[in-house]
């Protein structure tokens, strides 16, 4: 079964610094990969997704992620964070070969805390 590992439960960073949130997945076959963000007291919102094609994926709010098949990773990056980026970030995976391609398996989340 597929699984997702988010290596850092919390990432503290100062405003305007770069940040990388790490995500590794277990499957060696083709996958769909996603990053969702959850702001306090809100539902999850899609940041970006990788389905196929270019391995560098750009999302909303200046975030990007790079799909690395050899390392089975899909790390999320932002060159300069803002206070408003403080939130919980979830990496997720689904199986494009399955009947239910919308069945997302989520990681445990990384809490990004941006300090002034």
């Amino acid at each position: 079964a597929q699984s997702v590992t988010q290596l850092d439960s919390q990432v503290p960073v100062f405003e305007e610094a770069p940040v990388e949130l790490r995500c590794n997945y277990s499957s060696s076959v083709s996958v769909y990969l996603f990053w969702y963000v959850q702001y306090p007291n809100q539902g999850l919102q899609l940041l970006l997704k990788y389905l196929s094609g270019s391995t560098l994926v750009k999302g909303i709010n200046g975030f990007e992620a790079e799909f690395n098949k050899s390392q089975t990773s899909f790390h999320l990056r932002k060159p300069s964070v803002h206070i408003s980026d403080t939130a919980e970030y979830f990496c997720a995976v689904s199986d494009p070969g399955a009947y239910n391609t919308d069945k997302l398996i989520f990681g445990t989340g990384t809490r990004l805390q941006v300090f002034p």
Binding site: F34, G43, K49, D102
Partner: protein, 116 residues
């Protein structure tokens, strides 16, 4: 466009009592999901509907949880009787896709259940 609506936002009950959560998806979205998010964990899919049929309920504890989606629109998730370990946020999500989706789910704000 109105988002996914959920109610109630918060519910506190004692163990062995019952509770029901309601979800109204985005208009026109064929697929509806219920996820359970326990504190410190990522969301876990409980049940997925496509229109009013069940696509996946493999992780739904059927001895105490039930869900329905009458007329392919609104959905209710019921827990009876509740256990302490059911304390979690119950997230409803919807997506437009009918088959072969690409993982863009739209989430509601969630219903937080505390079982005492």
């Amino acid at each position: 466009e109105a988002g996914v609506a959920q109610s109630p936002r918060y519910k506190i009950i004692e163990k062995r009592q019952s509770v029901a959560f309601w979800c109204n998806p985005i208009s026109g979205h064929a697929t509806l999901y219920w996820y359970q998010q326990i504190l410190g964990q990522g969301p876990k899919l409980l049940i997925q509907f496509q229109n009013n049929g069940v696509v996946d309920d493999s992780q739904l504890p059927k001895d105490r949880f039930s869900a329905e989606r009458l007329k392919g629109v609104d959905s209710t998730l019921k827990i009876q009787p509740a256990k302490l370990e059911d304390s979690a946020v119950y997230l409803c999500a919807s997506s437009y896709s009918r088959t072969g989706g690409t993982g863009e789910l739209f989430f509601g704000e969630g219903s937080r259940l505390t079982v005492l």
